[in-house]
């Protein structure tokens, strides 16, 4: 029940604030209600964590009602460790972005009511997506998330917003339709074998021919690769990020894009283990290309928002690489990476959003020497940036290293090339920092004053989590590990054993002496 309630609270909150009066006088009340709804959701998600039995693994807190009997469609929810992690990410980030959106200047004739309402709708839908255990329900919610983002970009974004919103919608819709084809295919397959069903438990032991499995896999994978985004399907992201408000960027990149990688883990690997194994060389290659390509493009950007969007392309490359390396280390690393990347990208988008709002420009060339007049701002940018370049001691390092170490034991070339990404990451972050923050103060930058206490308060939770999880990621890993072990053993490739395990050496030594 708690999952339904958790998804419903933000939706009801959205409904409430659409019904509230519009205009300046009630704006504060609207914001308070929105934040309250998201905080309530956060509290509920903590209650869910408390309810969730870490040791037991598997899908928990399940609920199931028949929805469309003829097609075997159920309203079925449930979470495993991966779902829990991502729901937590969603519920932690939403209050932060709502707080950060407090002072957003919206285009004239747009009301703050619908702006915040769309964000809450997005939160509710995301929670639904992360907990759906029925493929049909997942598909419906997956497509439904497009609507709030379309409006968030198209109505509240920058000058290029219409183009970006349409591009985003069509691009993702194409992926979604390919997935719909696979959803229909699943119906055909299951109804031939008996009763039609979309429940993940029934689908994961599907008995189909290799070709059918691969085709169905490709339909799902196409949708997720576009959403994630995997090279070469990434080009919608920089445009969408450059044309939306910071809060939208965070929700889009940190939460909604995770549906792509989450979908690969939950649906591709669980439903089509054979096909996933079959496709893994290609996917790994594309992921490695994403890592290097995204990083190189990030170096070449002048727009701060596009830069961060491309760093995300690179980071998603790491996540996908870890998933398709099929080792419990790399896959757990990828899951943790989703959480950490959400935090670090959120911090980056929000702090650059503040910079852009104050300077009135997103071009790196228009900044310079800001450190002098805004030390706290530059400190926050540096910490967020360092987390993006995976500095040890900050959360993303743990996950990135797990991905790389796991991948290394599967494929040395992939891991070696991907590791070059850490040099490029240092370049794109530090060059950006150097150009914006250091040197003499650039003319026109005087207006970039330091962070206000409210802004510090909204950013602090993300920063604290980034540092805390860098030194002690185990609480999250304990949640993730059982779920990942199940998936990895389901794929059935298994962890590569160490070539010369430690025991061996001691034995031979003992023999010699």
């Amino acid at each position: 029940m708690i999952l339904t309630v958790m998804a419903a609270v933000p939706l009801l909150g959205a409904l409430a604030i659409t019904l509230m009066p519009r205009g300046q006088s009630s704006a504060t009340a609207v914001k308070v209600v929105a934040v309250a709804a998201s905080v309530l959701t956060l509290v509920l998600s903590l209650a869910m964590m408390a309810d969730y039995d870490v040791g037991r693994g598997g899908y928990q807190l399940t609920e199931k009602h028949v929805w469309i009997e003829q097609f075997g469609v159920h309203y079925a929810l449930g979470v495993n460790g991966i779902g829990v992690t991502l729901i937590l990410l969603t519920t932690v980030l939403t209050p932060i972005v709502l707080l950060a959106a407090w002072d957003d200047r919206l285009p004239t004739s747009r009301s703050v009511n619908s702006y915040l309402a769309w964000m809450l709708v997005l939160e509710g839908l995301a929670i639904g997506v992360f907990s759906a255990t029925d493929a049909f329900l997942f598909y419906v919610l997956f497509e439904a998330t497009l609507v709030p983002i379309y409006f968030l970009i198209g109505s509240y974004g920058g000058p290029q917003r219409t183009y970006a919103a349409v591009k985003f919608l069509i691009y993702n819709l194409v992926g979604g339709l390919l997935m719909l084809a696979s959803i229909v295919g699943l119906y055909v397959v299951t109804s031939r074998q008996g009763d039609a069903t979309y429940l993940i438990g029934d689908l994961s032991n599907l008995d189909v021919s290799t070709t059918t499995e691969r085709l169905l896999f490709l339909g799902f994978m196409a949708a997720f690769a576009i959403k994630a985004p995997l090279w070469p399907f990434h080009t919608w992201l920089p445009d969408a990020a450059a044309s939306s408000t910071p809060s939208t960027q965070v929700l889009m990149v940190s939460v909604i894009d995770k549906i792509g990688t989450f979908g690969m883990l939950r649906w591709c690997l669980e439903l089509f283990p054979g096909a996933s194994d079959w496709a893994s060389p290609v996917v790994i290659t594309l992921a490695v290309i994403s890592i290097i390509y995204g990083a190189l493009l990030a170096i070449g950007q002048d727009d701060l928002r596009r830069l961060i969007a491309f760093t995300s392309v690179s980071h998603f490359g790491f996540i996908i690489l870890g998933i398709f390396a099929f080792t419990s280390t790399s896959t757990a690393g990828s899951t943790l990476y989703m959480f950490n990347h959400g935090l670090s990208t959120a911090a980056l988008f929000l702090v650059t959003g503040i910079m852009i709002a104050r300077r009135g420009s997103a071009s790196i060339q228009d900044f310079g020497g800001v450190q002098k007049i805004a030390p706290i701002l530059s400190g926050v940018l540096l910490v967020a940036g360092l987390s993006s370049l995976s500095l040890p001691g900050l959360a993303p390092f743990v996950s990135e290293f797990m991905v790389l170490a796991g991948t290394f034991s599967r494929s040395i070339p992939a891991a070696a090339v991907a590791t070059l990404g850490i040099v490029l990451a240092a370049l794109y972050i530090l060059l950006m920092y150097q150009r914006t923050m250091t040197g003499p103060l650039k003319e026109g930058t005087e207006g970039v004053h330091d962070l206000k206490p409210v802004e510090v308060a909204s950013l602090a939770p993300a920063l604290v989590l980034i540092v805390g999880l860098g030194f002690y990621p185990q609480p999250l890993l304990n949640v993730i590990n059982p779920a990942v072990d199940e998936i990895v053993s389901h794929v059935g490739v298994g962890d590569p054993a160490p070539k010369t395990p430690t025991g061996l050496a001691q034995q031979t030594e003992g023999g010699e002496h």
Partner: protein, 625 residues
């Protein structure tokens, strides 16, 4: 106390982070808190060190796991530390020299508005460096490794209002990251190969693995070491790093952090023992760097850059010694420690000179400073005598041993090390001549004066250590002490007795010194650096740091920049162009279909009738057929 050794790291870390967060109110006492934190670590380090000294020789290593850092599948990393002979010596060096430099900085940074922040960074550095040397897992070591990189980045760019400082900081971090790729890959290889990344287990298990695995591991670790220790080919960042405040150069870029590469090689002795190819690579890197650094040191007129060249060169000696295997490990560490003393001394002395000369670093603007700054002069002289290896001073013992062992390995390697010693004598004498002797070449309005006591006392302490550091070699104490960690080596007999070699080395150094003395006292030194065209090729190449930057620019930077530009173009026109092109083609097709839609109701009606007619006819045809 050993079970509380984690306090060594925790106290400076908390102090550093606290000072950063505290805000303006902390400005009054920030430097005192920072210094206190560092002193606290020194005292804890001393107690721990004496505790392990008090134990039996075989039982001097203490390990403790604090908590599980990462666990997922077969990947398991404990946040654990090991306090043994090797890390104990390092802890004393880091916290001891570190605390002296903290004290010195109180005076040096007195007029800087951001002094609190400076001390915060110094504390973070101390914490990271201690993590590095205390780690008992390679991944934890990597945590400290990158932590010192971060502290170095922050401190090089401390005066970030200068573009050059910010650029130097970025460069240092990025070049180090190239080395880190090697380090990271090495750790991954350990995990894939042995299923563990614990230092002790890896260094044992490596014996059971193939030689090629050990070589690969060794070379990857060496790449990491090259980055951190500014060894060829990743040396280019160190000279630029002199943009940082001088105490930083002394602490990080001379005494401690840059020696982390040597520490890594010595700590991974199991890996290097298992692969001769990796050891030879270490020797080659060390030898090339020791000569290159000395060459650069001869040509630079900037006192800090000349000292930085010298640092490269001295670390080259340590690398060389580390590459010599069990015979050299202890000497590498010995030289590392004495170098920590005298190089910190020299750098702080340089800082004291700059303090009196209005932050001028140009040696050509110095001259005859010995009267104006007597304490600085005397202590600098001690550092000078130590680094050239004047008999009785610490450097004499440590460098001697390395050259001796090098000769034991191969004549040519020994010869290279010997030549390096002569060149060291040359450039250090040049520095002394240009700074303290010769005639005044001061700029107007510059009134050299001795530095305050808070700066000279640390100098005196370091000067004393430069003299007395050699005492560690008494009766071969340090080799015996380190033997349980680095392994035992039979002493190789040379063709000539050791004392004769010592005399020989001293003679070579004396030649270097004499040559320099003659060159720089015969005619007055120009107050401005002569133009590139008027000096020999050797000076020119040395000034340009042997064209390392130009090489990087041509081989790495420019191609990357072009590639980036090309990819930005490709992404817009190619990848995205394909997608938007697809959309455009669809639009064109729609335009074509739009043509018949005239908007006239009657034409639509006609097409409806026509259509129905066709349908009817088709039905009839089907019926009749």
């Amino acid at each position: 106390m050993l079970e509380l050794a984690w306090l060594l790291v925790a106290v400076p870390l908390v102090s550093g982070l606290g000072l950063l967060v505290w805000g303006k109110e902390g400005d009054r006492v920030g430097h005192l808190i920072g210094t206190a934190a560092s002193s606290f670590s020194f005292i804890v380090g001393l107690i721990c060190f004496f505790q392990i000294l008090g134990r039996d020789e075989g039982d001097r290593s203490y390990s403790k796991s604090l908590f599980t850092w990462i666990e997922a599948g077969p990947f398991h990393v404990d946040m654990a530390y090991t306090f043994d002979q090797l890390s104990g010596l390092f802890v004393l060096l880091i916290t001891g020299v570190g605390t002296l430099i903290h004290v010195y900085s109180i005076g040096y940074m007195e007029h800087d508005a951001r002094r609190r922040r400076f001390f915060a960074y110094l504390n973070i550095f101390i914490a990271s460096m201690l993590t590095l040397v205390l780690a008992s897992d390679y991944l934890v070591l990597f945590l400290g490794w990158e932590g010192v990189g971060l502290a170095s980045y922050l401190l090089i760019g401390f005066w970030q209002h200068k573009d050059s400082a910010a650029a130097a900081a970025t460069k240092a971090f990025v070049v180090n990251r190239v080395g880190d790729v090697g380090m990271a890959l090495a750790i991954m290889l350990m995990f894939a190969q042995f299923g563990t990344t614990a230092i002790s287990e890896v260094n044992v298990s490596v014996n059971a693995a193939s030689t090629s695995t050990a070589t690969a591991l060794g070379l990857l670790l060496l790449l990491g070491a090259c980055g951190k220790s500014a060894q060829v080919p990743l040396q280019s960042w160190l000279l630029d790093a002199m943009e940082g405040p001088t105490p930083v150069s002394a602490l990080i870029h001379a005494a401690t952090m840059v020696t982390a590469g040597v520490y890594l090689v010595v700590r991974s002795n199991g890996v290097f023992d298992a692969s001769e190819a990796a050891r030879n690579a270490v020797i080659a890197v060390g030898l090339v760097t020791l000569l290159a650094g000395a060459w650069i040191g001869c040509a630079k007129d900037d006192i800090k850059k000349a000292l930085a060249g010298s640092t490269m060169s001295q670390i080259g000696y340590m690398m060389l010694a580390a590459g010599l295997g069990p015979a050299g490990y202890a000497f590498a560490i010995f030289h590392l420690i004495t170098h920590g003393f005298f190089k910190a001394n020299l750098f702080l002395g340089a800082g004291s000179i700059m303090h009196g000369m209005d932050d001028d670093v140009e040696m050509r603007h110095y001259g005859a400073l010995r009267a104006a700054m007597p304490v600085t002069f005397i202590t600098f002289l001690f550092g000078y005598l130590a680094i050239i290896g004047f008999p009785g001073f610490s450097g004499f013992f440590s460098k001697d041993k390395i050259i001796e062992t090098a000769f034991g390995h191969s004549f040519w390697v020994g010869l290279g090390a010997l030549v390096g010693a002569g060149v060291t004598g040359f450039y250090m004498t040049r520095m002394m001549m240009m700074t303290f002797f010769s005639e005044k070449r001061w700029k107007e309005d510059v009134h050299p004066h001795e530095s305050p006591k808070v700066m000279t006392y640390p100098l005196i302490a370091l000067g004393a250590l430069s003299l007395l550091g050699g005492a560690m070699m008494l009766g071969g104490w340090i080799t015996d002490f380190l033997e349980p960690v680095v392994g035992h080596a039979e002493h190789e007999e040379l063709a000539i007795p050791a004392w004769l070699l010592s005399v020989l080395i001293t003679l070579v150094v004396a030649v270097g010194v004499a040559l320099s003395y003659v060159l720089y006292s015969r005619e007055p030194i120009a107050a401005e650096t002569p133009a590139d065209e008027s000096v020999s090729f050797f000076s020119r190449a040395g000034r340009h740091e042997l064209y390392g930057n130009e090489l990087n620019e041509a081989v790495v930077v420019r191609p990357t920049r072009h590639l980036t530009r090309f990819l930005v173009f490709l992404d817009g026109k190619g990848v995205d162009g394909f997608v938007t092109g697809l959309a455009d083609r669809l639009g064109d097709a729609s335009q074509l279909l739009r043509k018949p839609q005239t908007g006239f109701v009657r034409s639509y009606a006609l097409s409806i009738f026509g259509g129905s007619l066709v349908v009817v006819l088709a039905l009839l045809a089907a019926r009749l057929a």
